[in-house]
Symmetry: C2
Subunit: 296 residues, 2 copies
């Protein structure tokens, strides 16, 4: 299979679904809707929704009717980027080559756009229109898995620890916690969401969880590498910004070569976890390889 074609097709399907289920920019709240849509439709690889779809497909389930769940994952990811970019956090002016949300809508507008996207994600998952395609029990479990992963013990907690650690001497254990929470948790939850949509049994759910954790780790390690090696043009954001802020990263601990090997090990772990799946898991396997071959 050609992973680039697959990713492109899925990305377009996700973006079509986002256009259908996102609130239109009209009415008295038009400027708030515009602020949310600006970042949601500013490009992006749509990795989390695609992982969700690919995991459901690996179990032989057509995930198309559940695309709003995949969109919910992208809403949560986008909110986290908007808040991370704020002046009080990373203070970034550029994201994906475009001015960050607060540069366009102001700080208050950007904070609220993030809040709106996060809340809307749970609205999407719980929308009554999905009830023909998935049981209420499975959907409640989606809410649990995704809220746990995005919350204080997951993504938000990881970001808080990351912010608190800036300019501090950070041990490797703390770096691992930051990575696992800040990036790994939502990526794992995206795969788990696909497993729930696909009606995975306990064994398959556990295997997909291992896969998700491993690619979450690979993703973050490789992001650290890209930040060291990439150019600003390739990344769409300032290259070398982690080192400028003295952020703890894998390359800072292990050097570039050993970091690259660790990313490869994580990818191997991810692929090994899929041993019990047939050819329908091929996109997941290719996705794992793709993570450490991308340029941004």
């Amino acid at each position: 299979m050609d992973i680039k074609t697959y990713l492109n097709e899925k990305r377009l399907a996700v973006e079509d679904a986002m256009a259908s289920c996102m609130l239109p920019a009209q009415g008295p709240l038009v400027s708030h809707m515009e602020a949310m849509r600006y970042s949601l439709f500013a490009g992006g690889k749509r990795v989390r929704p695609i992982l969700c779809l690919a995991a459901a497909e690996a179990l032989g389930t057509d995930p198309v009717p559940l695309l709003p769940v995949a969109c919910a994952l992208e809403c949560i990811h986008t909110y986290s980027l908007i808040h991370d970019d704020l002046p009080a956090m990373d203070d970034d002016d550029l994201r994906r080559g475009k001015p960050t949300n607060h540069m366009v809508f102001g700080e208050a507008g950007a904070i609220l756009a993030g809040d709106g996207l996060l809340t809307f994600a749970f609205d999407l998952i719980s929308d009554p229109s999905l009830s023909d395609f998935i049981s209420d029990t499975a959907r409640l479990r989606l809410v649990q898995v995704i809220s746990r992963a995005a919350g204080p013990l997951g993504m938000v907690g990881g970001q808080a620890l990351d912010v608190a650690s800036e300019g501090q001497e950070v041990d490797f254990e703390t770096l691992r916690t930051i990575h696992r929470c800040k990036t790994g948790a939502l990526i794992t939850a995206a795969v788990q969401a696909g497993a729930i949509i696909g009606g995975a049994d306990d064994d398959h759910y556990a295997s997909l969880t291992t896969y998700g954790e491993a690619i979450g780790l690979a993703f973050q390690i490789f992001d650290d590498l890209l930040n060291v090696e990439g150019t600003t043009e390739e990344l769409g954001k300032a290259a070398g910004s982690d080192a400028d802020r003295e952020k703890a990263t894998y390359p800072a601990f292990f050097g570039v070569q050993a970091t690259r090997e660790k990313a490869q090990e994580a990818v191997a772990t991810a692929i090994a976890a899929l041993a019990g799946f047939d050819h329908r898991a091929e996109p997941l396997r290719e996705l794992a390889r793709y993570i450490i071959n991308r340029k941004r």
Copy 2:
């Protein structure tokens, strides 16, 4: 019945439940947990959780096993206060007589504490430990009602419109939209959540929705009045701050006397909506009266 005793008892029950279900301040994410707990346990009337409990009781249901759902409402309310107080929004230094979250934990810490509380609310509602006491279908409906009310079409949207309207000429229709979304939506959802917990039929659900919308309106109108008439000491925040910021308020449109009458009308509407309920709705009726007799 004595509403003050009732409110005090319920407030203590809610705060006990919050202490049980809130994440402990320990581990690597201790500072994030502390930031969330600081605002959650900084006092407050706990109006939304109490409304939820009282609505379930009006239907003859013991809501005690579902206290985490009531706590989730308070998490969402608290997050909204933390974000509203931020320098980029209302820039308030005091809340309930104590330094606001960002004065203690910094702006980044406060933004993330709010994000964490909002996300944790959905974790609480979907926690598997509640499954013995409420159906998955009812809980999914709780997620839908609460996320819709707190999201872009409700509380967040109302706050966005409020911020965008500051210093602008605002017509009455816009003021109503701000009130209905920013304050009314979550108060209504709190009552609806109690209705869902209580297994309300369609008629009772509709009546409780009308009740919720009416007290939501009364609450906001009376808040506007308090801001004009209260002292800083009584309010625990800066009095007269709305006028300082030229915010649109009911008294600015109608004057103090007519505003007071409108609040009383809304309370009468709320009580009339409970005509089909017996003595077990007495706390809801008293609560409606209490809203326009409080000092803060």
